[in-house]
Symmetry: C2
Subunit: 459 residues, 2 copies
C-alpha cells in the first residue's frame, strides 16, 4: 500500500496543532485546493480523519470538494463511523472504489459494517473478485466477533520446516501482509499448533526446526468468539497477534494487537457512556438532533424514578409543613447517598470489566463495600449531626440527620455493588446499571429514612 519515500531519515510526520488547523481552514475558505493539499501532505491519515470529525458539516462538504482526489483507503478507514456515511456520499464513486481496493480485507469489513445497503453495494462492486469473496465471508460472521475483526491474510509454515526453508519461502513470496509479527505453524490439516516470532526466526540458525523455536505459550481464538473477550485476552496475556480458527480448528485468519487495542478502547468508551446514561453510539461530531435522541431515553427513565422520590416526599408533607427545616436538609442525605453509590458502582463496573471482580471474590467485595459504607456513614453522621445540632439547636434533629445518613450510605454501598453484579450474572452489561438506578435508590431511601425518622422522633 505504501510507496516508499526517497529519504525517510529527515522527515518526521507532523502533528495536527491548532495553527495548522487554522491554516487548513483558511485554505478551504479560499477554495485553494493546491494549498490545502500541501498543508495536509505531511499529516498522518489518522489526523486528517480527526480533522474531518472536528469541523462542522458545511466546512466538511467544502473540504471534501477540494480534497476528494486525495482521499485514500487509509483516510477512509480512519474516519469515525459517525461521519463515514456522509463522507462516502460526498465523494465521487471512482475515488471510493480506488480507495477501498488498496485496503486489507479486515479494514474493508470495518468500513462496510456501518454503511447502508446501497453504499455497501458500491464498495463491494469495486473490489477484486477474491477480495470480495473474503469480505463477504467475514461479513457472514456475527457482528462483534473475532471473525469480523480478523484479517484473512496469514503467514504460515508447516511445523517441520527449518528456519532456512521459511526465510527462503518468505523471500520468494509474491505478496505478504503489510504487518505481520509471527509465522504461524500449522499441521497438515491446517490446524495452528504454535507460532514463531520473527525476531527469533531472524536470530536462529538456518538449520533449526521451527518447532524448536516456537513460543512457550500459545493461544488461538474461535472465529465466533466475542471481540470483547479477544481484546481482554490480548491485554491479559500481552499478545501481539493471535490465530483465528473455525469450528474444526482450522486456521481462517489472524487478529493483530492494533485491532485489539481499538476494541479495548471502544469497550472503555461504552462503559463510560453507559454509566452516565448516554447512548453508546454517540460521538462528539453528532448533530444536535442525534445527540438529543441518544440522551432522551435515560432522562425519561430518570423522570419516572424522580417522580418516585417525589411521591415518597409527598407522603411526609404533614411532617414538612410542621418542621420546614426538613425540606432544606433532606437533599443533603440524598446527595451524599448518590455520591457514595456512584463511587461503589464505578469501582464495581470497572472491576467486572477487567475481570478483577469474579464469583470467587464477589462476597468479599460486597462485605468490604458494606463496611466502607458503614464507616463513611458514621464519619459523616458525626459531622452533619453536629452541624445540624449547631445550626438548628436541636440535638434530636442532628441525631436523625446522622442516622439517616448512615442508613443511606449503607444502602448506596450495597446497591452500587450488588446491582452490577446481578446484571453481570444475568449476562447483561453491568454498566447498564448506570447512575440513574443507583441514585434513584439512594434518593428514595434517603428521603424515606430521613423524613420517616424525623416524623417518629421529632414530631
Amino acid at each position: 500500500m505504501a510507496e516508499q519515500r526517497a529519504a525517510p531519515e529527515t522527515e518526521e510526520d507532523e502533528a495536527l496543532d491548532s495553527r495548522r488547523v487554522t491554516a487548513i481552514m483558511s485554505a478551504v475558505e479560499a477554495d485553494d485546493s493546491i494549498r490545502l493539499t500541501a498543508l495536509l501532505a505531511p499529516l498522518h491519515a489518522a489526523d486528517i480523519a480527526d480533522l474531518l470529525e472536528q469541523i462542522g458539516p458545511a466546512e466538511r462538504r467544502d473540504f471534501l470538494r477540494l480534497y476528494a482526489a486525495e482521499i485514500d483507503g487509509e483516510i477512509l478507514s480512519e474516519i469515525d463511523d459517525s461521519i463515514r456515511e456522509e463522507v462516502i456520499a460526498a465523494l465521487p464513486r471512482e475515488v471510493v472504489a480506488e480507495a477501498v481496493r488498496e485496503l486489507d480485507t479486515d479494514d474493508v469489513v470495518d468500513i462496510l459494517e456501518d454503511l447502508e445497503a446501497p453504499q455497501q453495494a458500491i464498495i463491494l462492486r469495486a473490489l477484486e473478485d477474491s477480495d470480495r469473496v473474503a469480505v463477504e465471508q467475514a461479513l457472514a460472521y456475527p457482528e462483534y466477533t473475532a471473525g469480523r475483526l480478523m484479517q484473512r491474510e496469514v503467514v504460515v509454515a508447516p511445523e517441520h520446516w527449518t528456519v532456512g526453508e521459511t526465510i527462503d519461502h518468505l523471500r520468494g513470496a509474491e505478496w505478504l501482509p503489510d504487518q505481520f509479527y509471527h509465522v504461524i505453524l500449522v499441521n497438515p490439516r491446517m490446524n495452528p499448533v504454535g507460532y514463531v516470532t520473527l525476531g527469533r526466526l531472524l536470530s536462529s540458525r538456518r538449520e533449526t526446526r521451527l518447532r524448536e523455536i516456537a513460543e512457550e505459550s500459545f493461544r488461538s481464538v474461535k472465529a465466533t468468539e466475542e471481540e470483547s473477550d479477544v481484546a481482554y485476552m490480548f491485554n491479559q496475556y500481552h499478545l501481539i497477534s493471535c490465530p483465528v480458527v473455525d469450528a474444526n480448528d482450522r486456521l481462517v485468519g489472524v487478529i493483530t494487537i492494533d485491532d485489539a487495542m481499538n476494541v479495548l478502547d471502544e469497550e472503555h468508551e461504552e462503559d463510560m457512556l453507559r454509566l452516565a446514561g448516554v447512548g453508546d453510539e454517540s460521538s462528539i461530531s453528532d448533530g444536535v438532533l442525534d445527540t438529543v435522541k441518544s440522551r432522551i431515553p435515560w432522562l425519561l427513565v430518570n423522570l419516572v424514578t424522580a417522580n418516585l422520590a417525589a411521591f415518597v416526599i409527598s407522603l411526609f408533607e404533614t411532617s414538612i409543613s410542621q418542621l420546614v427545616a426538613l425540606a432544606a436538609l433532606m437533599p443533603i442525605v440524598a446527595s451524599m447517598g448518590g455520591n457514595a453509590g456512584t463511587q461503589s458502582l464505578t469501582v464495581a463496573v470497572r472491576a467486572l470489566a477487567t475481570r478483577d471482580l469474579t464469583g470467587s471474590n464477589a462476597l468479599r467485595v460486597v462485605r468490604r463495600e458494606a463496611g466502607v459504607g458503614l464507616i463513611n456513614g458514621a464519619v459523616f453522621a458525626l459531622i452533619i449531626g453536629a452541624v445540624g445540632w449547631g445550626v438548628f439547636g436541636s440535638p434530636a434533629l442532628g441525631a436523625v440527620l446522622g442516622a439517616a445518613l448512615i442508613v443511606n450510605l449503607l444502602i448506596a454501598a450495597l446497591a452500587g455493588t450488588i446491582v452490577p453484579l446481578l446484571l453481570d450474572r444475568m449476562g447483561l452489561d453491568p454498566a447498564l446499571a448506570s447512575g440513574t438506578f443507583v441514585t434513584t435508590m439512594t434518593d428514595v431511601f434517603g428521603f424515606f429514612a430521613f423524613l420517616g425518622l424525623a416524623t417518629v422522633v421529632l414530631l
Copy 2:
C-alpha cells in the same frame, strides 16, 4: 527468559475458571504444595497474579507460603501494585532476587517504582551491575514519562547496511530482547532515522539496503514525554514500537505496544474513577480502611456543596410552608439536571481524552450541548408540566415546574461541557471536574430556579 517446551503443539494455556479456583483454594487449605503447584502449572503468570489479587490477605499468606519457590519474575511483574509490597514482603529474599534477575529492565523499573526504599534496596542489590545501572538511569527520569516506560535493550543497524548484513548480524548476536518488531536505523551519531519491520526484512533480497525498505512513516519520542501522550500516539498512529531519544536526539531505548496498551488502560481507569470521585489508586483488593480513605475526600466536598443546596432551599422556607407540594417537586428538577449534567460531562471528558474535542471545535460543541439542553428541557418541561398540572390541578404550578426544568437542563449542559474544557485549558485533568461539581451546580440552580419562580408566580 522462556525455556522451550518440548512439544508446544498440543498444549494451549488454560484459563482461570471458577472450578479451578475452588480446586486451588482447597489445595491451599489442605496445605498441599504439590497439588497446588500441579494445579497452577498450566496457568499463565497473569492469571496466577489475578488469583492472588482476588483472594483475601489470610489466604494469600498461606498461598505464598506453599508456592514461594515457584514465584518467578513474570508473576511478580504481573501482580497489581496494590498487593505487590505485601507479596514481596512475604517471600524469601532469595526468591525475590532470583525473580527480578530474569526480567527485562523496564519490568524491573515498573516493580521498583511503587516499593518503599528498603524493598527497593533489596531488589537493586540482587541485580547484576549492568542491569542495576540501567534501572537506576531509568528511575532518574520523572515518573509517568517515556523514560520510565522504555526498555533499554534495542536492536539497531546503521542505515547503510544491507538486509543480508543485518540478518547475519542478528544471527550472530549473543543476546536479543524477548520481543522486538523493528530494526531501528541509526546514523553515526546514534540518532534514529527510520525503522524496518522484521516482516519486510525477511521478505527482501539480501542485497537490498535497509533505507530502501524503511517504513514510510516514522516517529520517535523524547524520554521526558508524558506516558499518556505516548499511549495516545500508539493508539492514534497504530504503532507497534517506538524509539525513545534523549535531549540530543540520541537513541536511548524503545517502547513497545504492550506497554502503551497498559498505559492506555490505566488512563481509562483513572478517568472513570475520577469522574466518580474515587481516588485513582484504589483497587478491588484494597482493604476497608484504604477504601474509606480513597472515598472520603470527594464525599467531604459533596457534603460542603450539599449544604450550599440546603442553604438555597432554606431561603425559600416561607414559600415551602405556604405550598408544601414544592418540597416534593423540587428534587425532580434537581435530579433531571444532575443526570443531564453527568451526560454532558462524561461526553466532554471522554472526547478530551481521545482529543476529539480541541480548541478548534470547542465552541461548536458548547453550542451543540446548549441546543441539546434546550430541546431536552422543552421536551421534559412539556411532560412534567402536564403531569404537575394534572396531579395538582394548577396550570401555573405545571408551568413553573416546566420553566425551571428548561433553565436547569441548559445549565447542566453548559456546566457539564465548560467546566472540563476550562480544567483542560488550565493544564488540569478534566476528569477532576467529577460528578460532584456538576451535580452541585444543577442542585443549586435547580432549587433556586424552581423555588424562586414558584415564589414569584404562585405565592
